[in-house]
């Protein structure tokens, strides 16, 4: 959407100029948002309205504004954004503009530049020669970089709800609590993921160890085999649990097939050692050391595995990015073309990913803890669904909806 702010002055209420202008905006397929309106108190007092007009294309907007000018609309004067130099590497100038994850524009020399990518809790670095602006984290900024300060010349465009088609995100857009039915929602989600696959969208799964521990891994494997996962984001321990299960049939020493079993960490450490010895996950799959499980499915179906580490990790497993800043960069790079994100049973990892997503990405968050769901959904208020549930029944039902029918022989 492209937008321009217009101002109307005069006896715009008595002359019906205000309703005329608003009607013309709508009949031309554009939208408006009234920013400010002052109605004259006495009969001779003139009124004032500031209106933001938005249209699908710049051409449509220009043509509309030209028509509105005939009725006295004047294009509001915009101020350029202000910048200051970064005082040192990794330090923003004081009063730097802190971004949201909404589409954002900054104005220089009377022209707006879109900030790409849109990323929250960042600053905006401007390259005026190239006419480019980007959201930057502390580690991205170098001494002398031009950083936007204050709010002047910065425009944020919240994601609009689509009106052409009501999909599950526009329709529900809320959190489904533990005691609410979920089957219908899961079927709708399955439909959305099917459409995403047809439209060549990219689906990211952000997964926590609870998936392996609750034995939901088999359902995630079905989704991977049916090509509903393009990227898998997880921690070292998720991979370690899954590989232990593949190698020893246990998870933290517990066999999911046994009731009331007691476990230990021995198998986990041995599994990590086996993968390190093999030279990594892909190598272990190729050498047929690992022949089942989620990691195995990812390697076999060319799913990008993005593994990051934490302090309590065993190993790490080769391929895990342990440097936090490096991990941030890798994750951000792997999220740029993602259209759908499934945040499954992992609070910290989900929040990290959600904070890097542009607002157009449709997000599903599943967690047994309602506060975790709320926090993740907050990032994408218009494009996310939260389900408070154990992840196993969710994945089982979703996989049942989406899996290719198995050939009976």
């Amino acid at each position: 959407m492209f937008s321009e702010t217009i101002e109307l002055r005069g006896h715009i209420i008595d002359s019906l100029i205000l309703p005329k202008v608003l009607d013309q905006i709508l009949t031309h397929g554009a939208n408006f948002k009234i920013g400010e309106i002052k109605i004259g108190k006495r009969r001779a007092d003139q009124s004032f309205a500031r209106i933001e007009v938005s249209a699908e294309t710049t051409e449509a907007l220009d043509e509309l504004i030209l028509r509105l000018r005939q009725h006295g609309a004047e294009v509001a004067k915009h101020e350029d954004a202000q910048v200051a130099s970064a005082p040192a590497d990794g330090v923003f100038p004081r009063d730097f503009y802190v971004t949201t994850n909404q589409q954002t524009f900054v104005r220089f020399d009377g022209k707006e530049i879109e900030v790409r990518p849109a990323m929250m809790d960042s600053a905006i670095a401007v390259d005026r020669k190239r006419g480019a602006a980007r959201a930057v984290k502390f580690f991205d900024v170098h001494k002398g970089d031009e950083i936007v300060v204050g709010h002047q010349g910065v425009r944020v465009v919240p994601v609009q709800r689509a009106t052409s088609r009501t999909d599950v995100f526009q329709f529900i857009n809320t959190i489904i609590d533990a005691d609410e039915p979920k089957s219908a929602i899961i079927r709708e989600l399955a439909g959305e993921l099917r459409r995403a696959r047809v439209a060549k969208g990219k689906i990211a799964a952000v997964v926590g160890p609870a998936i392996v521990r609750t034995d939901a891994g088999q359902h995630l494997v079905r989704l991977i085999e049916s090509h509903y996962v393009d990227r898998l984001f997880a921690g070292n321990s998720f991979a370690a649990y899954d590989l232990e299960r593949a190698l020893f049939g246990t998870c933290l020493g517990i066999s999911p097939d046994l009731a009331f079993a007691r476990g230990g960490r021995e198998n986990l450490v041995r599994a990590v050692n086996a993968i390190r010895e093999a030279g990594g996950i892909a190598a272990a799959v190729q050498k047929k050391i690992v022949t089942s499980g989620i990691m195995h499915a990812c390697v076999r179906h060319n799913v990008d595995i993005v593994l990051t580490g934490s302090i309590r990790d065993e190993g790490p497993i080769p391929g895990v990015t342990t440097d936090a800043i490096e991990a941030h960069k890798v994750m951000r790079g792997k999220l740029t073309d993602v259209t759908h994100a499934l945040l499954l049973a992992t609070l910290q990892h989900s929040l990290a990913v959600a904070s890097m997503l542009p607002p157009t990405v449709k997000t599903v968050c599943v967690d047994i803890d309602s506060s975790a769901v709320e926090r993740a959904v907050e990032h994408q208020p218009l494009q996310s669904i939260g389900l408070v549930t154990d992840v196993e029944p969710f994945l089982r039902e979703l996989a049942d909806c989406l899996s290719e029918p198995r050939v009976r022989g």
């Binding site: 006896h11 002359s15 100029i17």
Partner: protein, 269 residues
Amino acid sequence: MRELLLCPPDYYGIEYEINPWMSRTRGAEAALAQKQWEQLHATLLELNCKVHLIAPQPGLPDMVFTANAGLTVGREFIPSNFRHKERAGEQPFFAKWMEQQGYKVDWLPENLYFEGEGDALFGGDALFCGYKFRSDIQSHHAIAEMLECLAISVELVDPRFYHLDTCFCPLPDGGAFWFPMAFDEYGQRAIREHVSDLIDVASEEAMHFSCNAVIIERDIVLPEGAPQLVTRLGDRGYRCHELAMSEFIKAGGACKCLVMFMPQRENVS
């Protein structure tokens, strides 16, 4: 006694085409135009008006249409900013003349087109202002500010009725007669909301410039060719004086276009 400004049609003629009525191939007949103007002049004198005459200027054939000189309220005169360069030369003559008569001349910003009483007529306590073909709507805001009055801006949509005074004529009792089709629907609604008694003029009568009338108390001086309107005005107690205006209609003007009130209103309240 109403004071009026007229300009003898010594140099009047169709020398250019700036509205759909004008055609250089169908020029005005000078002698007949002179006669029609003199009849108007005489009628206004008979109605006890004090008529001032400004000296016509060669090369400014439309100076005869003094309604477009500007807008006068009390002792204040706001000169026009003509949209067409063909008429822009009239402005200094009118401004200087009004100044010589002792009026305070208040100029509009140069970038705002405004064609005087042609597009600004008081009705009740509002100043009705036409826009699009000749005057800019922004000029209305400026005038409303200068005069501290309510200005109702209405869009004109038929190029044959390019000035407000060609399709709208307020009456002293608060009513008005008008040709609604000359306005867009918002303009029509705005006028209906602010004028209590509206007389709709039929299309064929509007084409005779019937709305282009000079109102002097209960007397109405208008072009001939509007029997239905004359009857309805008669029913309301107005005396109608119908004049031949054929030679001026060829240029897109008639009785009202040939007259500017000095002032149109003593004050705005």
